[in-house]
Point group: C2
DNA sequence: CGTGTTTTTGACTTCAGTCAATTAAAGTGG
DNA sequence: CCACTTTAATTGACTGAAGTCAAAAACACG
């Protein structure tokens, strides 16, 4: 449970600060939320479709994914989450979960009682606003994914996804080499892009052959981000990142 | 502009009441929001990608769509909206619009100043909660669309979409014939499902031949909703409809 | 070092896309 | 209400991107 100088929830504060300003008291109130830390293995379920969650889960470290199963047993990964993300606020707010949330890697989580979270959101408008904005940004990402899966061919579709990951893993350095460790198998990439594992493999190979990415183990190395972004038709507007973050080095007017 | 017994915003009250309870004062406060009514022709833009909206638009009557353009000029329709929907709260809250919102049919709208809307959301928690839940439900729909476009074949994909429309247009009557007027051309259905117009045409024909739907003009008639839902792998959980609505006739325990 | 997963590759199939022409509907103005 | 124009729906013949099946090679790890 929570004790006063517990820093478990720090990633949440960090994340929300990128979305809206928070006073010191707001931040303290977040850190003081009751919670229970829990470590989970890769592939473990955080929430299952049909559950009525009593807690909402903060992803403290590692990666998680939202998954949906369709009739014939196929799976679609509908979003990926990183440290600091509230991974099932929606399920907690909406009652019954309409999709699964699973660990993608080994993760550390903090489970916060639903009521405590909701009370905080409504007693501290700045916190509520940040959480609301977070929901809206996630919606924006979902819309881009619909367009990506619906209207882009395999090559730009994968390129787009790799660009998005670069931003969300905070690995974009325009003009320099950027690289990150992609914690997904090709099968998971297939479930994310709506392709088959075989086709993902072939498409990655083409991206590699064209010099758009390099791979070693599961790391992705991008020598020329702009070129990959051009192929992937990627523009980061929809991520609604704070203006300062990782964008072109300089900006005269703060 | 708003006058006191103006009922223009009534559809918003009706919609929000399905999401969270609202006191009489809450409802009055919503109806009293300053706003400007505007009629728009089909295909007119409400917001364009890149805009920084100063107002947020309520769809009073008719249908609207969210669209994204991808690099090669193709279009993806990422969501459809009906009367009572706040059609660009996200754009207003997030600053710069990351997609277009367009009239799908002739529509009537009410433009509410961004500030007034935000103030109302934070001064009246019940209203804020309803708006937040609305954002979350829209996110849930977007996730289902990712799965639909990513992992279902043309036939179930279209069937699924037709089932969703039946629910959202409140036309579902289990056990009876249900029908609704679909305000979209086959080209727009193609942009919604990520298919080509030709393939949409052929797929509709198959649905028709298999007795799953009938068509006259642009009306869709579904004789056996359960059968269409089975083909489309459709389960309405993700719409998070209020328990009472249009579901199986009876429920013992309210 | 062996066992199970993941990646890679080849040969073949299929679902959906493309191109192009025809028919049907929906408007429009006289 | 009818010719005239425009937009939408339909159909056929052909192409191509991605899927399927199956096997081999490369890793990961206890």
């Amino acid at each position: 449970m929570a004790d006063h100088d517990d820093k478990t929830l720090q990633p949440l504060v960090r994340k929300l600060l990128t979305l809206a300003p928070l006073s010191d008291e707001d931040q303290a109130a977040i850190l003081a939320l009751p919670h229970k830390a829990r470590a989970l293995e890769a592939a473990a379920y955080i929430v299952r479709e049909g559950d009525t969650p009593t807690h909402c889960c903060l992803l403290v470290s590692g990666f998680a994914m939202r998954t949906k199963l369709v009739g014939d047993g196929e799976r679609q990964i509908v979003n990926i989450h990183v440290s600091g993300d509230m991974v099932d606020l929606q399920n907690a707010m909406l009652g019954v979960a309409d999709h699964n949330v699973q660990a993608l890697t080994k993760i550390n989580t903090a489970f916060i009682p639903r009521e405590a979270m909701v009370d905080l959101a409504f007693s501290r408008p700045s916190v509520g606003k940040a959480l609301w904005i977070d929901s809206l940004v996630e919606g924006a990402i979902q819309r881009e994914w619909v367009a990506n899966v619906g209207r882009r061919r395999a090559l730009p579709r994968l390129a787009h996804l790799l660009c998005e990951f670069a931003y969300r893993l905070d690995a974009v350095k325009i003009g320099e080499e950027c690289n990150y460790k992609l914690p997904m198998t090709q099968e998971q990439l297939a479930d994310t892009t709506g392709l088959t594992p075989v086709h993902v493999n072939r498409t990655l190979k083409v991206l590699d052959e064209q010099g758009l990415i390099r791979r070693s183990k599961r790391a992705v190395i991008i020598d020329d981000f702009k070129r990959l972004a051009a192929v992937g038709d990627f523009r980061p507007t929809y991520l609604h990142l704070p203006p300062a973050a990782s964008e072109p080095p300089r900006r005269e007017n703060a």
